[in-house]
C-alpha cells in the first residue's frame, strides 16, 4: 500500500508498466481473436454461435473482478483515508461497468439463438444486472457532490455494501435452477470444457486483463492530474 502511497511513486511505476501492458494487449487480443474466430472448432450443439462465448465469458469475469478491485480500493480509502485509493475506485468503476454491459449485451445476443429470447429473469442474469446498477449508483454518487472527497467516501461505502452481490452472481446458477449454465471453467474439480475451447478462452481472458490494466493506469493518471489541477486552481484563488 504505502509503496504506491504517493502519486509520484505511482506515476513512476505506471510509466514502467504501461508500454509492456500495451504491447501485451495487442498481442493477446490478436492471438485470442484469431483462435476465437478461426482457430477453434464450432460447437457440435451450438454451431458457430459458440464464438460469442469468447467475448461473453471473459467480460463477465472481468465485470466481477473489477468490482472486487473497486471494493478493495474503497476499503483502503475508508480505512486509511488514502486519496490515491479513492481515485483508484473512481478510475475502475466505468471500466467495470463497461465490461458488465458487454457481458449483458453479448449474453443477450447469445440468448436469442440459444434460448429463443434475448432476456429471461433468471438469477444469474438478474444479479449481473444488479451489479451493473451498482456500478451506475457508484458513479452517480461520485458525481452527486461537489466536494469530491465527500462524494468519494460515500461512493466507497456503497461499493462495500454491494460486495454481497458478488457471491450471489457466482452461486446464483447453483441456488436457482435456471437457464444459464453453471460454472464449467472456474470449478474446484477442474474445468469440464474441451481443450480446444479453453485455449482461446484463456487467451481472451488474459487479453481483457491486460487491457484493463492499460485503461486503469491511464484513467488513474488522468484523475490524479485532474486533482492536481483543481488544487492548483484553488491555491491561485488565494484562500
Amino acid at each position: 500500500m504505502h509503496r504506491f502511497a504517493n502519486p509520484a511513486q505511482f506515476n513512476r511505476l505506471a510509466d514502467a508498466v504501461m508500454p509492456w501492458a500495451m504491447v501485451a494487449t495487442v498481442l493477446l487480443f490478436g492471438a485470442g481473436l484469431y483462435y476465437a474466430l478461426a482457430g477453434s472448432p464450432p460447437d457440435y450443439q451450438q454451431g458457430e454461435s459458440v464464438r460469442v462465448m469468447y467475448v461473453h465469458v471473459p467480460a463477465a469475469w472481468m465485470g466481477m473482478f473489477v468490482y472486487v478491485v473497486m471494493a478493495v480500493a474503497s476499503f483502503a480509502a475508508l480505512a486509511w483515508r488514502h486519496p490515491l485509493a479513492l481515485l483508484a475506485g473512481k478510475a475502475a468503476a466505468p471500466i467495470g461497468a463497461t465490461f458488465t454491459a458487454l457481458a449483458l449485451i453479448t449474453g443477450a445476443l447469445w440468448g436469442k439463438p440459444m434460448w429463443g429470447t434475448y432476456w429471461v429473469w433468471d438469477g444469474r442474469l438478474t444479479s449481473v444486472l444488479v451489479q451493473f446498477f451498482l456500478y451506475l449508483g457508484y458513479m452517480a454518487l461520485w458525481k452527486s457532490m461537489e466536494d469530491e472527497e465527500k462524494a468519494g467516501n460515500a461512493a466507497s461505502i456503497l461499493a462495500l455494501v454491494g460486495l454481497v452481490n458478488i457471491p450471489i452472481i457466482k452461486f446464483s446458477v447453483d441456488w436457482w435452477s435456471t437457464l444459464h449454465q453453471p460454472a464449467s471453467v472456474m470449478r474446484l474439480d477442474g474445468p469440464t470444457i474441451d481443450g480446444a475451447m479453453l485455449v482461446p478462452l484463456f487467451l481472451m481472458a488474459a487479453a481483457y486483463q491486460v487491457y484493463f490494466t492499460v485503461v486503469f493506469i491511464w484513467r488513474m493518471k488522468f484523475e490524479i492530474n485532474n486533482r492536481k489541477l483543481s488544487v492548483m486552481r484553488s491555491v491561485d484563488m488565494g484562500h
Binding site: 466536494d147 472527497e149 488544487v231 491555491v235 484562500h239
Partner: protein, 229 residues
C-alpha cells in the same frame, strides 16, 4: 442560574497544538495552538472564511483534523467521550422542528442529551433567560428569525455541559437579548464552564481572543504530503 449549586471540574483543560484542518479539499488553517481551562472565555475572530466555524466543528469532532492534536485533561478523556459528555454546540442551523412547540423541542433535546425528563420549572427558567417563557407553547414555525435563534441558544443553560461552542451567537438578537447572552456566559464561567464563541460582534464579555487570520496556510503549502488531493 438554573442549577443553583453547579460547579464544573476546575481541573478541566483543553489544549490544541499545531492544528491543521482541511475542508472541501483545501487547507483552512494551519499551525493553530490554543488552550482553554475551566472558567475561560475564548472568542474567535477573523475575516469571513478564516475558519472560525470549521474550528468549532473540529473541536466537536465533526470535521477531522489533518495535523496536530487536541488533548483534554492530559489525555484523560477521548475525543468521543468529550463530544458526548461535555460539549454543547449551537451553529447557524437551529435544530428545531418547525411543527413542534418550543416546549416539545426543548424537552426532546433534554431527553436526547440526558435520557431524563426535565422538570417543568427547569424548562421555564431556561426559557425565561431569553424571554421565551410566553412562547413555550407556540409552534416554532411561527417564530421570527431572532426568536428561533434564541430558542437554539436556550440549549446552553438547559443541559449542564461544561464546554459551550457558540457560532455567531449574537446574530439577529436584539439589545436586551445580547445583554442576557453576556450575563449567561459570565455565569457559566463563574461555575467553571468554558465558552468558545466565534463572532463578528462585540460580546461584552472579558476573555482571550484568538485571531484566526494568523493561521491562514501560506501559499504553496498545498503541495505537501496531502496537498495534491
Amino acid at each position: 442560574m438554573i442549577d443553583a449549586n453547579l460547579i464544573f471540574d476546575s481541573e478541566t483543560r483543553l489544549t490544541g497544538s499545531a492544528l491543521g484542518c482541511r475542508r472541501g479539499g483545501r487547507r483552512v488553517f494551519d499551525g493553530l495552538d490554543f488552550e482553554v481551562q475551566a472558567g475561560d472565555f475564548l472568542s474567535l475572530v477573523g475575516k469571513n472564511g478564516s475558519g472560525k466555524s470549521t474550528f468549532l466543528r473540529m473541536i466537536a469532532g465533526f470535521v477531522p483534523k489533518v495535523a496536530g492534536e487536541v488533548i483534554y485533561n492530559q489525555g484523560g478523556k477521548t475525543a468521543a467521550a468529550l463530544a458526548s459528555e461535555d460539549i454543547t454546540l449551537v451553529g447557524h442551523q437551529n435544530g428545531l422542528k418547525p411543527g413542534m412547540s418550543l416546549r416539545n423541542n426543548a424537552t426532546f433535546y433534554y431527553r436526547l442529551m440526558t435520557g431524563g425528563v426535565p422538570a417543568p420549572e427547569r424548562l421555564q427558567i431556561a426559557a425565561d433567560i431569553f424571554a421565551l417563557g410566553s412562547l413555550l407553547d407556540e409552534p416554532v414555525q411561527y417564530f421570527s428569525s431572532g426568536q428561533r435563534h434564541r430558542s437554539a441558544l436556550m440549549r446552553f443553560p438547559f443541559v449542564a455541559r461544561q464546554i459551550w461552542l457558540m457560532d455567531e451567537p449574537t446574530v439577529g438578537l436584539d439589545a436586551d437579548n445580547r445583554a442576557a447572552l453576556a450575563a449567561l456566559i459570565q455565569h457559566h464561567m463563574a461555575c467553571g464552564g468554558i465558552v468558545i464563541a466565534a463572532t463578528h460582534d462585540p460580546m461584552w464579555v472579558q476573555g482571550n481572543v484568538l485571531n484566526m487570520d494568523q493561521f491562514q496556510p501560506a501559499h504553496g503549502t498545498e503541495t505537501d504530503d496531502e496537498g495534491w488531493l
